[in-house]
């Protein structure tokens, strides 16, 4: 590993100022950056730890704003949170799919998102939770909806010095589900990830959200499929239409993990499955 200067700021303003310098990297859980530095794919001159900044970690729930997850909250905590399991099941399920317990005890949800991998396991769950991403920078704070955060693989709208501080999940779903398409039980990366969330009212789908990972340069929402479902009574035929519409929204690549064709086909299959499971959970 190349040498670097190490900083442990105690305020966001100081962290942001340091992070705005050239060749600076943030350290949250370290599970990506430390491995990158060992491989010399990351060679920062300064590393800024977020560990000593108060208020960045933890999950809070209140009646008006729903659930707020601090950026440096450990993935393991997201996975086990009763509130998240109940109201945003797909997100807890996505968290439980990352690496091993040892890695989930280190890795943070902010890191999983800021890394901007199209295959991140928490991203589909955050998409269907309509998460609002709190960001702090030199010019104060701003909020970006999660579906507007990513601009490409490893790329986000974050400006130099800007730091993700929290994820706000204002709207609970009555049922949601995430499926990671993979080979190994644990320690695997997603071929694709699909999350669906629904809100039901008297047996009618009031609202549906579908989040897709690893099927496009960025994680995406399948909005056409969502619109197909809205206001309808769920039937196998309707879910099949939604599956096809979701697959049509993707632009996957072929890589060593699997082919583009397989990814597209599995979006169709897993959209149907996650929707059905979400509907079952919603009490349909």
């Amino acid at each position: 590993m190349k040498s670097f200067e190490f900083f442990e700021p105690t305020t966001l303003a100081e962290a942001s100022r340091l992070f705005a310098q050239e060749h600076a990297q943030l350290l949250a859980g370290g599970t990506d950056i430390v491995i990158g530095m060992k491989a010399y794919t990351e060679t920062p001159e300064s590393v800024i730890s977020l560990q000593k900044i108060p208020g960045l970690a933890g999950i809070t729930t209140d009646a008006d704003n729903g659930i707020t997850i601090g950026a440096t909250t450990k993935i393991r905590e997201v996975e086990l949170s009763e509130d998240i399991l109940q109201h945003h099941t797909a997100l807890a399920e996505g968290a439980s799919e990352i690496g091993s317990i040892q890695i989930r005890n280190l890795a943070t949800i902010g890191g999983n998102i800021a890394h901007a991998s199209p295959a991140a396991d928490t991203v589909a769950g955050l998409l269907v939770a309509d998460a609002q991403v709190g960001i702090a920078g030199a010019n104060g704070e701003r909020t970006v909806p999660i579906n507007e955060l990513f601009t490409g693989p490893g790329q986000t709208v974050l400006k130099p010095g800007e730091i993700i501080t929290q994820f706000r999940l204002p709207t609970p779903a009555s049922g949601s589900h995430y499926i990671k398409h993979k080979i190994r039980e644990v320690m695997d990366l997603a071929f694709i990830g699909v999350a669906s969330a629904v809100n039901l009212q008297n047996g009618v789908i009031k609202e549906a959200r579908i989040g897709l990972a690893a099927v496009a340069p960025t994680p995406i929402r399948a909005t056409e499929a969502e619109n197909l479902l809205k206001g309808k009574t769920p039937t196998p035929d309707l879910l099949a239409q939604a599956g096809e519409a979701a697959a049509a929204a993707t632009s996957p690549i072929s890589d060593l993990r699997c082919s583009a064709e397989h990814r597209k086909e599995m979006v169709d299959v897993l959209t149907r499955r996650t929707l059905q499971h979400a509907l079952d959970r919603a009490g349909n």
Binding site: K2, E5, G30, T31, V34, S100, Q102, L106, M187
Partner: protein, 159 residues
Amino acid sequence: MAKHPVSLKVNGDEHDLLIEPRKTLLAVLRDTIGLTGTKEGCSTGDCGACTVIVDGKAVTSCMVLGVTASGKEITTIEGLASDGELHPIQQAFIETGGYQCGFCTPGFIMASKALVDENPDRTEEEFRHALGGNICRCTGYTKILEAVLQAAEEIRTTS
């Protein structure tokens, strides 16, 4: 680059050190403190050989910068036995033959300890899944699982 003062409490002993920020916790434990029971396997977090317990949580120490562990309480394989008596998990690994070459064993034992401390009431399937971050190159998984289940049973009945 400047070294940083780091205070680690390892297996109950305080260590005040000056370390380079690029040193991983694994390197600090092995090379600086001299506790070589914790092993370096893949060095990318995939194999679990370097698992230690930090503030009650099992972590892969190869992914942790030593400077970020300052002020934390660390338990390594060397800290499990007390008064010359092996921890029930260590004893169970011996009794069931839960090791072959032994390289993965400290990581498996530390990961298992954290699991059993958290909840010894896991099913075989749950333990198997929860230990998915540890790899045994000798593929002695059946005996390893037997050891963990035996220890969990013992801890359940004695606590």
